[in-house]
């Protein structure tokens, strides 16, 4: 096993713990926006699509990478905007928010 792989695995394992830790106490009313928000975050796959698209040499790779860029961008842009639209609804509260 290479050092790079070991580093990657280290990052992966730590990220698993963080991912679980940061949402362990979330009220039900936020489940949908949270799902939508995390949905936007896996749009980070766009970074991978860009790296492939920018270095592809064959036509097939270019085609695959191009579709990947389009898909991932839809995921990122649509995901964040839709989440914002949902959360915008929670903004108008009469006074102070109820304690959760």
């Amino acid at each position: 096993m290479s050092m790079t792989l070991l580093n990657s695995i280290t990052v992966f394992v730590l990220a698993v713990f963080i991912g679980i830790e940061i949402i362990s106490k979330v009220p039900t009313m936020l489940h949908t926006p949270l799902m939508s928000g995390t949905n936007a975050i896996h749009g980070i796959v766009l970074v991978g699509a860009m790296l492939i698209a920018g270095s592809a040499d064959s036509d097939l790779e270019k085609a695959l990478a191009f579709v990947a860029v389009v898909f991932a961008t839809i995921n990122v842009v649509g995901g964040f905007l839709v989440t914002d639209r949902m959360l915008e609804m929670f903004k108008r509260k009469p006074s102070k928010p109820e304690s959760e």
């Binding site: 926006p33 991978g48 920018g54 592809a56 914002d84 903004k91």
Partner: protein, 468 residues
């Protein structure tokens, strides 16, 4: 024509900044007052990662990326703007699906780039590549089926046939075999077959799941896509992808469990239970409903009941959302409050089509936040409630879930609407709810049906309360 290439170290440093912003973003998304800013903080983190990736020295051609991003931005922004609040769950499913598709395509392109020189596939990355292709494809096709079910392009009811689980198990084993072949022979044909097989598996996995369970499925597929993105990160040795993808994979899995718990359903049960198909006891019970009788009530009678009540609990469901009746309901509640009636809203954890969906819809109609009660807070109130007004909610009020062990709903926590002195159910017809199960509540002695479109019924109630 590399404009300005940053060193890999510098780029990785920007990825670290991006990762911190993503983590802070998700954390803030988990609490109501900070949620909106959390979303934007995560978006900024994402923007940083994307921007600095442009400066990666590996990227030698920009036009493919720029054109692709332009197209994706237009499609994503327009669909996010135009989608109705009621159709939000299937929109999330679509966005999730394309993310999974992107991860699978990355794996396929990378396989094609490396594989021609046989023996060059490094053992370190080949596993991740195959995993990304497999999970990404499953997430893609599964999300499309989930979209189809929620959009009612496909039947919401579970689609089952005998031996289904055996077929699925065999297909899964076959996929593992294809993965081994693709990894060991490095022949493109096996990769293509793996991708196609995984797409098929995604379809077969979601088809037998009923529409009512779709939120849990979407959440699970969301976690899948996160893991697919993370494994694409292993392939490309890219920390931003690994961190971003893993965060979603982990938090998405936990969120799926939390959602399942709110519906009293285990993930295994959701995936393999074919909930709502209910050919056995449930269907027999449904067939016998012809013999049961229900009572119909007019809007005027209901209005009088409401106007002279002390305590009214409104139970909103998806039907309210579809009819866009939330504004009319708020008007009715305002009128009643002006007459001194105590009005509360009972929000079942899965009211609407997703946990939290109903809160979003009512907030859109500017229903005061403190009037919204969770299931656990409102259930003790029902015995003291004069009128429970059920508007387009169905399965979440079915007493069979509490009382009838034969019912497919049995065990799901419900709103104890039947304990109120009077129950008025606003509904278009006697047809069963999303889970395809008849509701015993309609035949209770204290229940009465007010037929019609939710919006026009509520508007009639508003007019009648004004006159009362």
């Amino acid at each position: 024509m590399t404009v300005l290439a940053l060193s890999q170290t510098a780029i990785n440093f920007t990825y670290l900044v991006a990762a911190v912003l993503l983590i802070v973003g998700i954390r803030r998304l988990s609490s109501p007052p900070t949620a909106r800013s959390g979303n934007w903080i995560a978006a900024v983190g994402m923007g940083i990662a994307i921007f600095f990736t442009f400066l990666d020295e590996d990227i030698t051609s920009y036009w493919l990326i720029l054109v692709g991003m332009a197209i994706g931005t237009v499609i994503g922004a327009i669909s996010a703007r135009l989608v109705k609040m009621t159709a939000m769950p299937q929109m999330v499913a679509l966005f999730n699906g394309v993310g999974g598709g992107a991860a699978a395509l990355i794996a396929a392109a990378e396989f094609h780039r490396i594989a021609p020189a046989a023996g060059h596939l490094s053992g370190d990355s080949v596993g991740a590549m195959l995993f990304s292709a497999l999970i990404g494809s499953i997430s893609f096709s599964g999300s499309l089926v989930a979209f189809g079910k929620l959009q009612e392009v496909l039947p919401g009811r579970p689609i089952t046939y005998t031996g289904q689980q055996i077929v699925n198990a065999l297909l899964f084993v076959a996929l593992l075999g294809l993965g081994v072949l693709a990894g060991s022979t490095e022949q493109g044909i096996w990769m293509v077959l793996l991708l196609l097989g995984a797409l098929l598996f995604g379809v077969l996995l979601v088809l037998p799941i009923g529409g009512a369970d779709m939120p849990v499925v979407i959440s699970l597929l969301n976690a899948f896509t996160g893991l697919a993105a993370a494994s694409a990160g292993f392939v490309l040795e890219n920390t931003a992808l690994i961190i971003g993808g893993t965060l979603v994979g982990a938090s998405g899995t936990l969120l799926t469990v939390l959602m399942g718990r709110a519906m009293n359903r285990s993930i295994a049960n959701v995936l393999f239970g074919a909930f709502g198909a209910a050919p056995a006891g449930g269907a027999a019970a449904a067939a016998s409903t012809d013999g049961k009788s229900y009572r119909e009530v007019t809007a005027d009678d209901t209005a009088v009941m409401l106007a002279y009540a002390q305590r009214v609990v409104v139970v909103p469901g998806y039907g309210l959302a579809v009819a866009q009746a939330q504004h009319a309901v708020r008007e009715l509640a305002d009128l009643l409050e002006a007459r001194g009636v105590d009005v509360k809203y009972a929000i079942h954890p899965v009211a609407g089509r997703m946990p939290g969906h109903m809160n979003v819809l009512l907030a859109e109609a500017q229903v005061p936040y403190p009037q919204l009660y969770d299931m656990d807070d409102i259930n003790p109130e029902f015995p003291r409630t004069d009128v429970a007004l059920v508007i387009g909610a169905n399965d979440v009020t079915n007493p069979a879930a509490r009382d009838n062990p034969e019912s497919p709903l049995y065990g799901m926590p419900i709103l104890n609407v039947d304990q109120a002195a009077n129950v008025v159910i606003l509904k278009r017809s006697m047809s069963p709810g999303f889970a395809g199960i008849d509701n015993d509540l309609f035949y209770e002695g204290n229940s009465a049906m007010l037929f019609g479109d939710a919006k026009s019924s509520v508007e009639k109630l508003v007019a009648a309360v004004k006159a009362a």
